[in-house]
Every structure is written in structure tokens, then in C-alpha cells.
């Protein structure tokens, strides 16, 4: 692929690059007067007539290609760009091979992204996080794990004339069905935003199997991203650890910024819990963010949530927090609840 090439009817209009992509080369392209994003996959390669390799190797490679096509087409079928609520998902509009190489096409989108979401006000932040979570819910509702949720895969944008910034979720090529991830050697994921069970899976920990990699993997990353969007940085963890998940795996919980409200600190603690089953679902997350106040970054330190407190945002009949118990030390005991129990689906 190079500037000026026409591939599958798409004319390449920018110099191809691998910037931001680990296993692809991409460029912008045009077809019938419309602009597109054209992605060239580095694998698999479809054997061509007369190309090298034995008959056995040809059969193995064709089988890999068949599975690759099936995976992409099934996700395209499940996630259609015109589906209700899919407006903030950047979905494929075309998928094909030209010669030996596979390509995927999405609409050309403005790739500019607000680099400092933490500078937004609480209501703006709330809308931003809720649009991100709504996109994620579309995936989770059909049991798809994004698998590589991180700031680089989210575009924070404000449409002309719009009051709020929204989050566009991109790059589903590492997605997998909940509980059915790729093999340990092959699974994608980010070393910083990866969940504890993802890291143990990659490390070959036999106690973690494919069934343990569920949509809760995305919820851990969402917890980290929420903290980053609200404060400008990840939750704190000891410098001995290579990542938040390494710290959590060593039974050292992450420390949320204490300028966040107590319920938000509790929500982030729950999202970054070591056990996948202890993390809120994306529906829980959306409920928790109904009140934009939850996204406030205060000037002063806020009380820490009580350990093992159950926190629910905006309960109708109770104050958000109560005063510390008389004579008690430390933060006040939270009486607000996330209420994870009743509508949580059991995860195997």
C-alpha cells in the first residue's frame, strides 16, 4: 500500500503509516467522493495462486484466513454502524482482501482528541464518561470484550456547536467473545491498562483460564480511564510495580486521588478490584454516573470510603455521606451504595 494506490476501489490519499498501530499499516482513502480510513492487516496473508509454500502450508494458511474472515464478518454483523446507539462506535463499513492482504474500512473520522479531559467541568466529564460507557455497553450486551480499552483507543471530541465532548470508541480488532479470548501468546492488550487476570493469563498462570477473561477485563480498564479523565493521571501505586494490575495482583490496592468524592473513590476501587466478579458492570457504572456531581474534583481532600463499604450513587432517601462515627478515626463510613448484587450476571 502506498500513496496513490487504488485498493478495492479505495484510492490511498495519504502516506501509509503504522503510527499508533502494532499490527497494521493505515492511511486515509477516497471512494466515490467520500473519505475513509483504510487499514491494512499484517496477518494473516491469503495464499495466492502460484505463490510459495507447500500444499500443507497452503491448507493451514487458508484455514487461518477463513477463521479470520469469519471473526471479522461476525463482529460486523453484530455491530452495524447504523444500529441504534452505535453513533460513538467507529465501526467497519467494508472488509475485503486484495491480493494476499486483508483490509478494513471505516468512515474517515477526525482523529483529533482532547488531550486533557481532566480540564473539563463535572457535567462535561460525566457526559464524556457516560458516552464511553454507553458504547462499551453495546459491546458487553452482546458479550463482546473490547480487549484493548485505553486512552489511545478513545477519541474525545466536541462536535461543532455541541455543548459537550463525547467519546468515540475505536479499534475493535482485538475484540473477543467473553470467556473465549485468543491463546495466551496471541492475546492483545495494553501493559498499562491490562486487567490483573489478563496479566496472569499472559504470564501463563494456570489458575487463570480463558473463562476468566470476561467483560470485566474492560471494566478494570474503564476504572483506570475514569480516574485518568477525572484527575489527569492513573490511580497511585507503588513504583516497584510495572502497572496498576501488577500492584493489584500483589494485593496492593490502588489509591484514588483523594480530591475525588468518596463515592467516586469507592467506584474506582470497585472497578479495579482484583477479582473480576467484584467489579461493577457497565450498567452499574452508568447508574453511578447519573449525577454529574460524582465527577467533581474537589479542591480539598475528601473522606476515604470505608473498606468494604457498599456504595450506591444518589440513593433517594439518604444523604451522600454521614459524619464520622463519634470517637472513630479515619474517614466517615460511607452509606451510599453501588449496589452490585441484584442485577449482576454471574460470571463463570
Amino acid at each position: 500500500m502506498k500513496l496513490g494506490d487504488v485498493i478495492g476501489g479505495y484510492r490511498v490519499v495519504t502516506e501509509p503509516t503504522n503510527a499508533g498501530g502494532g499490527k497494521c499499516v493505515w492511511a486515509f482513502a477516497e471512494k466515490d467522493g467520500r473519505e475513509y480510513f483504510l487499514k491494512r492487516f499484517l496477518e494473516p496473508k491469503r495464499p495466492r495462486e502460484g505463490s510459495g509454500g507447500s500444499a500443507v502450508s497452503r491448507r493451514i494458511r487458508l484455514e487461518s484466513c477463513r477463521e479470520f474472515e469469519e471473526r471479522h464478518r461476525s463482529i460486523m454483523k453484530l455491530l452495524r454502524p447504523d444500529a441504534s446507539g452505535a453513533g460513538n462506535l467507529v465501526l467497519a463499513t467494508d472488509f475485503f482482501h486484495s491480493g494476499s492482504t486483508y483490509y478494513k474500512v471505516t468512515e474517515r473520522i477526525d482523529t483529533a482528541s482532547l488531550q486533557t479531559p481532566e480540564s473539563l467541568g463535572p457535567k462535561q466529564k460525566s457526559v464524556l464518561l457516560r458516552t464511553l460507557a454507553s458504547s462499551l455497553r453495546l459491546l458487553h450486551d452482546i458479550e463482546i470484550v473490547h480487549g484493548d480499552l485505553k486512552p489511545a483507543n478513545v477519541l474525545v471530541q466536541q462536535r461543532e456547536g455541541a455543548a459537550f465532548h463525547t467519546a468515540k470508541l475505536i479499534d475493535f480488532d482485538d475484540s473477543y467473545l467473553s470467556g473465549r479470548p485468543p491463546e495466551r501468546e496471541d492475546i492483545a492488550g495494553d501493559s498499562l491498562y491490562g486487567a490483573p487476570e489478563w496479566r496472569r493469563y499472559v504470564q501463563g498462570d494456570e489458575a487463570v483460564g480463558s473463562a476468566d477473561l470476561t467483560t470485566a477485563v474492560d471494566m478494570f480498564a474503564l476504572g483506570l480511564m475514569t480516574h485518568t479523565y477525572l484527575t489527569g493521571s492513573l490511580p497511585a501505586y507503588d513504583a516497584r510495580f510495572g502497572s496498576p494490575a501488577d500492584a493489584v495482583n500483589a494485593a496492593e490496592p490502588l489509591t484514588a486521588d483523594d480530591r475525588l468524592g468518596t463515592p467516586m473513590q469507592a467506584l474506582i476501587a470497585a472497578l479495579t478490584a482484583a477479582a473480576p466478579k467484584d467489579r461493577p458492570t457497565v450498567a452499574d457504572f452508568l447508574t453511578a454516573l447519573k449525577d454529574p456531581e460524582a465527577c467533581t474534583l474537589h479542591d480539598a481532600a475528601q473522606p476515604r470510603p470505608a473498606r468494604r463499604s457498599r456504595v450506591q450513587f444518589n440513593p433517594p432517601d439518604h444523604p451522600r455521606t454521614v459524619a464520622p462515627e463519634p470517637g472513630g478515626e479515619g474517614p466517615p463510613r460511607s452509606r451510599v451504595r453501588i449496589n452490585l448484587g441484584s442485577h449482576r450476571k454471574e460470571r463463570s
Binding site: G21, K23, L42, G52, S54, S191, L192, G242, N249
Partner: protein
């Protein structure tokens, strides 16, 4: 790349191995210094990019294979280092790279495929938790077919494939039984002309390969180390 801080032993450990195959024939004269300088700065730039992403490589090793033409002078057709661990062996790495001279080459095609075959068969890291194995080819010329020009010379590598088909099988593909490199770890980055074997036989047919064309016979005008760094940094 690790700091003085004592790290938690359970951290996910990443190993990155890179083999740079560098065409050191006469036509590379205008650009060899650029390639050399970029190579020398490579580990520092990679470290900076990774630090910006709050990520860390646990072990970084580089190996250089300089090649010319077995058909012109078999005695200096291949010069190579072992895998050198950086930053610990940076002195050895720099001494070798600084010593490279663009000379010889004879006819236009060079012995780039022999260098590539040696790279594929290098002793890649098999330990730590995750690995990235990258071969980078810098050349401004097409390549002689394997096992032909200069193949009877004493210095010609003995244990490399003698045909493109066999080299393809060694490079491999998902579920290959003959691949010598780890499928999920490997990448091949070509800074090479749109000539064979780089353009079609490898650039189109081999998986996990990125081809950034240079103009044949004119030397690599310039290249960006960024492509190589992106290949590594985005996949960890």
C-alpha cells in the same frame, strides 16, 4: 532499561530483541551514516517513547548483521555481532556500528537474503513473559536468489535455506510447524526498494511484514526510526 529501583518480581516482563540487517555496499555510502547514527540512538529513543507511555522493557538486545555481496568479495560479505544487551553492552555495539564502511558490492543485487536468513535463525530470547522479535532490513538493492551467487564460498553461511520457499517456511505463519521464530512475537520491517524479493515475494506474501519503499540504486534517501519504534511500543 530497568531503573535502580528494586522491582516487584511478579511484574509482567517484556523482552525486546532487534536484528538490524544493514546493507554496507558502496551505493549505501550517502545514507549509511544516517542509518548508523539512528542505530546508535535507537535504544535511547525507544526508552524515551516507552517512558512517555509509562511502560518499560525489561530486557533489550540488539544484533547487527552488515552485508555486502558474496559474488563480489566473499571475505567481507557478512559481518555480524552477537545479540548485545543494552545499555550494558552499548560500547561493543557502538564500536561495531561506527566501524561499518560502505564499500564493494559489485553488481546491483546484493546478499540481503543471506542476511535475512541469518537474522531469522538468530538465537532469539525465549524467556520472560512476553517477547517482541524485530528484524529490520536497510537496503537500496534487490537481492540475489538464495544459494546461488557465492554459495560455494567458504564463508557462505552453511545452515541457511537454499530457496525462497524454504526461507518462507522458516519465517512461518500461524500454526506453522516449520517456523523458527515465535509467531506472536515477530515482525519484519523492510526499508528496501520496490524490487524483488522485497516487494512481492516478501512484502506481499509474508505476514507481519511492513515494507517502506526506498528507490533502487539511489540509496535510502532517509528513513524514520519512528516506524520501528511504533512497531515495538504499540504492541507492548
Amino acid at each position: 532499561m530497568t531503573t535502580e529501583l528494586e522491582k516487584y518480581h511478579g511484574n509482567l516482563q517484556y523482552a525486546v530483541d532487534i536484528v538490524m540487517c544493514i546493507d554496507a555496499t558502496g551505493s549505501m555510502n550517502p545514507v549509511l551514516d544516517i542509518v548508523k547514527n539512528s542505530s546508535l540512538q535507537f535504544h535511547q529513543r525507544l526508552g524515551e517513547v516507552m517512558a512517555r507511555k509509562s511502560k518499560e522493557i525489561s530486557q533489550l538486545r540488539l544484533k547487527v548483521i552488515a552485508f555486502r555481496d558474496f559474488g563480489d568479495d566473499p571475505s567481507d560479505a557478512i559481518e555480524q555481532t552477537d545479540f548485545l544487551r543494552l545499555p550494558q553492552q552499548v560500547g561493543e555495539f557502538e564500536k561495531f556500528v561506527r566501524g561499518l564502511r560502505a564499500t564493494g558490492g559489485g553488481d546491483i543485487p546484493e546478499s540481503g537474503l543471506e542476511a535475512l536468513a541469518l537474522a531469522i535463525n538468530a538465537p532469539w530470547e525465549t524467556g520472560l513473559d512476553r517477547r517482541r522479535h524485530v528484524i529490520v532490513m536497510f537496503t537500496d538493492a534487490p537481492a540475489h536468489p538464495l544459494g546461488t551467487v557465492g554459495a560455494s564460498a567458504q564463508t557462505y553461511p552453511r545452515d541457511i535455506p537454499r530457496s525462497m520457499d524454504d526461507l518462507f517456511e522458516q519465517w512461518g505463519y500461524a500454526r506453522s510447524q516449520t517456523a523458527v521464530m515465535e509467531q506472536s512475537a515477530k515482525r519484519l520491517v523492510l526499508f528496501a526498494p520496490e524490487e524483488e524479493p522485497w516487494k512481492e515475494a516478501i512484502g506481499e506474501e509474508w505476514d507481519l511484514t511492513l515494507h517502506f519503499p526506498s528507490r533502487a540504486g539511489e540509496g535510502l534517501e532517509e528513513f524514520e526510526m519512528d516506524e520501528i519504534i511504533e512497531t515495538i511500543a504499540n504492541s507492548l
